[in-house]
C-alpha cells in the first residue's frame, strides 16, 4: 500500500516539548513546598507561601505535564492506530498556543491567590472556560481522526483515549459550576456536604480519566510495540475497560469517610473501590501476560523496564487504594501523610514512568533518529525509581506514626499526645528524606529531558513534517 499520507507530527512535537517544560516547573515547585513544610522561613512574600504553591504544584503537573503529554502521545496514537493523518492540523496548532498561554495564566492566577479552593480544580472561572475550549478542540481533533480511520476495529488504546476525552469533560464541567462575583472570584453552586460530594466525585475521577486512562492508553500501545509480542488478551481488556469506566464513578466518597455525608454513599464508594481491583488488575495481567517467555527484555531494554515498573506500580496503587478506603483503615490514615504517599506512588511511579516510556518510544521515531544515550536512560530509570520509593515509604511511615499518635488514648480516655505539635515535629526528619527523594527523582527527570533534547538536537534535519 503506497504511503500516500505522511503522518503529521507537528502538534505531537509541540506538546511533547510543552509537557517536559512544565513538568520541570511542576517538580521544582514540589521540591520547594517540600522544603517549606520543614523550614517555614522559606515562605517569602505572599506569592510564594505554601498555601498558594501547593495548588500550583498539583495544577502544573496535572494540566502542565500530564495533559500535554496525553495530547502529544494521543495525536501520535490516533494516527498510527488509525493508519490515517491527523484531522484538523490547523486546529492542533492553535491548540498548542492556546494551551501554553492558558498554563501561564493559570500559574499567575494561582500565585496571586485566585482559587476556588477545590483540589485539582482551583483555577478560577475564566480559566475554567478556557480549559473547556481547549478540551473541545482536543476532542474535535481526536474524534475527527478516529472517525476517518482506515483500520476498522479500534484497538484498546483508542477506547481509553475516547474515555479520557469524554470522562474529563463530564467531571470537569460538573465540578466547576460556579456563580461568578467578579472576574477573579466565584462561589460554588453546591453547598456544604453536596459540594464536598461533587468535589470528590470530580477528584477521584480526575484520577480515573487523567491518571489512569491516559497512561493505560499509552501502556497498551507501547508494551506490544516495544516487545513485538502481541498483547496477552484483547478480550480481557474489553472486560477491564468497561467495568473500570463504570465502577470509577461510584468511588468518589471514599475521600469522605466518617464525614456527615450520608453513610450509604460512603459504603457504596468503599465497595466499588474494592471492586475496582478487578478491572485494574486486568491491565496488570495483560502486561505481565504479554511478557510471557520474554522477561529477558527487562534486563536488556530500558524501555521495557519503564513499562513493566509502571504497570507494577499501577498494580500496587490499585491494591493500596481500596485497602485505605475501608473505614477501619481510613480512620487511621485519613488526613495523614499516608495519603500523599499513596498519591505519589501513582503519579511518580505509574503515570510518570509510563509517559516516559511513551516519549522514549515515540520521539526517536518521529524525528527519524536513535535515542541519544541508552546509558542515560537507564540512569534516569534507577533515579526515578529510587526517588519514588524514598518519597512514598517515608510518607507511609510518618502517616501511620502520626495517625497512631492522634489515636493514642490513656485508660481514662484522655489523649496521650494532647498537643498537636508533638505529633507533627517528629515528621520533619522524614520530610527531609522525602525532599531528598524528590531531588533524586528530579535529577532523573532532568536526565530524561537532557537525553531527549540531545536526541532531537542530533536528529537529521530532513525529518518528516
Amino acid at each position: 500500500m503506497a504511503q500516500e499520507h505522511a503522518y503529521d507530527y507537528r502538534a505531537v512535537k509541540g506538546f511533547a516539548i510543552s509537557s517536559l517544560f512544565w513538568g520541570i516547573v511542576g517538580l521544582l515547585i514540589g521540591i520547594l513546598i517540600s522544603l517549606q513544610l520543614v523550614y517555614p522561613q522559606l515562605n517569602v512574600t505572599s506569592w510564594l507561601t505554601y498555601g498558594r504553591l501547593r495548588p500550583l504544584h498539583t495544577n502544573a503537573l496535572i494540566f502542565g505535564f500530564t495533559i500535554p503529554a496525553a495530547f502529544s502521545i494521543f495525536f501520535y496514537l490516533v494516527q498510527r492506530l488509525g493508519r490515517t493523518q491527523l484531522a484538523f492540523p490547523g486546529l492542533a496548532k492553535a491548540l498548542l498556543y492556546l494551551f501554553n498561554t492558558a498554563i501561564v495564566l493559570a500559574a499567575l492566577s494561582l500565585f496571586a491567590g485566585m482559587s476556588q479552593s477545590k483540589e485539582y480544580s482551583e483555577l478560577e472561572w475564566p480559566l475554567d472556560l478556557v480549559i473547556v475550549v481547549i478540551w473541545v478542540m482536543f476532542a474535535i481533533i481526536i474524534i475527527g481522526t478516529i472517525v476517518k480511520r482506515k483500520e476498522e476495529q479500534m484497538y484498546v488504546s483508542l477506547w481509553y483515549i475516547l474515555a479520557t476525552v469524554v470522562g474529563v469533560a463530564i467531571v470537569f464541567i460538573g465540578n466547576n459550576l460556579v456563580v461568578p462575583v467578579s472576574l477573579f472570584k466565584s462561589y460554588s453552586v453546591y453547598a456544604g456536604a453536596n459540594d464536598a460530594n461533587v468535589q470528590w466525585w470530580f477528584g477521584h475521577n480526575a484520577v480515573a480519566f487523567v491518571f489512569t486512562t491516559i497512561p493505560l492508553a499509552i501502556f497498551y500501545y507501547i508494551l506490544p510495540k516495544t516487545t513485538q509480542a502481541p498483547l496477552y488478551s484483547h478480550r480481557l481488556s474489553i472486560i477491564g475497560f468497561w467495568s473500570l469506566v463504570f465502577a470509577y464513578l461510584w468511588t468518589g466518597a471514599h475521600h469522605l469517610i466518617y464525614t456527615p455525608l450520608p453513610d450509604w454513599i460512603q459504603t457504596v464508594a468503599i465497595s466499588f473501590s474494592i471492586f475496582l481491583i478487578a478491572p485494574s488488575w486486568a491491565s496488570v495481567i495483560n502486561g505481565y501476560g504479554t511478557m510471557k517467555g520474554q522477561w529477558e527484555q527487562m534486563r536488556t531494554s530500558y524501555l521495557v523496564k519503564f513499562i513493566i515498573l509502571g504497570i507494577t506500580f499501577y498494580g500496587l496503587q490499585t491494591l493500596q487504594g481500596p485497602s485505605q478506603a475501608i473505614r477501619a483503615f481510613s480512620a487511621l490514615t485519613h488526613f495523614t501523610d499516608w495519603v500523599p504517599g499513596h498519591v505519589h506512588m501513582g503519579t511518580m511511579g505509574w503515570v510518570t514512568m509510563t509517559i516516559s516510556a511513551g516519549f522514549y518510544y515515540m520521539l526517536p521515531r518521529i524525528y527519524n533518529t536513535e535515542l541519544y544515550s541508552v546509558k542515560i536512560a537507564n540512569a534516569h530509570f534507577w533515579l526515578v525509581l529510587m526517588g519514588q520509593l524514598i518519597y512514598s515509604v517515608t510518607m507511609w511511615i510518618t502517616g501511620i506514626r502520626q495517625g497512631a499518635m492522634w489515636q493514642a488514648m490513656e485508660a481514662d480516655g484522655s489523649l496521650v499526645y494532647s498537643n498537636f505539635i508533638d505529633t507533627l515535629t517528629p515528621n520533619y526528619a522524614f520530610w527531609n528524606m522525602r525532599t531528598a527523594g524528590g531531588i533524586i527523582f528530579f535529577a532523573g527527570f532532568l536526565l530524561f529531558v537532557y537525553n531527549l533534547y540531545k536526541t532531537i538536537r542530533l536528529a537529521p534535519k530532513a525529518s518528516s513534517a
Binding site: M1, R80, Q228, L231, H234, I238, I239, S464
Partner: protein, 48 residues
C-alpha cells in the same frame, strides 16, 4: 424485605448479569479471532 432491600438486590443482580453476558459473549470460542485481531493488526508495520 422492604423495597429498598429489593432494589439493592435487583441492582446487584442486574450488574452481575450484564458483566456475565459481556464475559460470555466475548470469550465464546467462535468470536475469539474477531476480537483478538486488533492486537495483531497494531503490530503490523504501518509505515513511517
Amino acid at each position: 424485605m422492604e423495597l429498598k432491600a429489593w432494589l439493592y438486590f435487583g441492582f446487584t443482580t442486574l450488574l452481575t448479569a450484564v458483566l456475565a453476558y459481556i464475559i460470555v459473549y466475548y470469550f465464546r470460542g467462535k468470536r475469539k479471532d474477531r476480537v483478538e485481531q486488533p492486537k495483531y493488526r497494531m503490530l503490523e508495520e504501518d509505515g513511517e
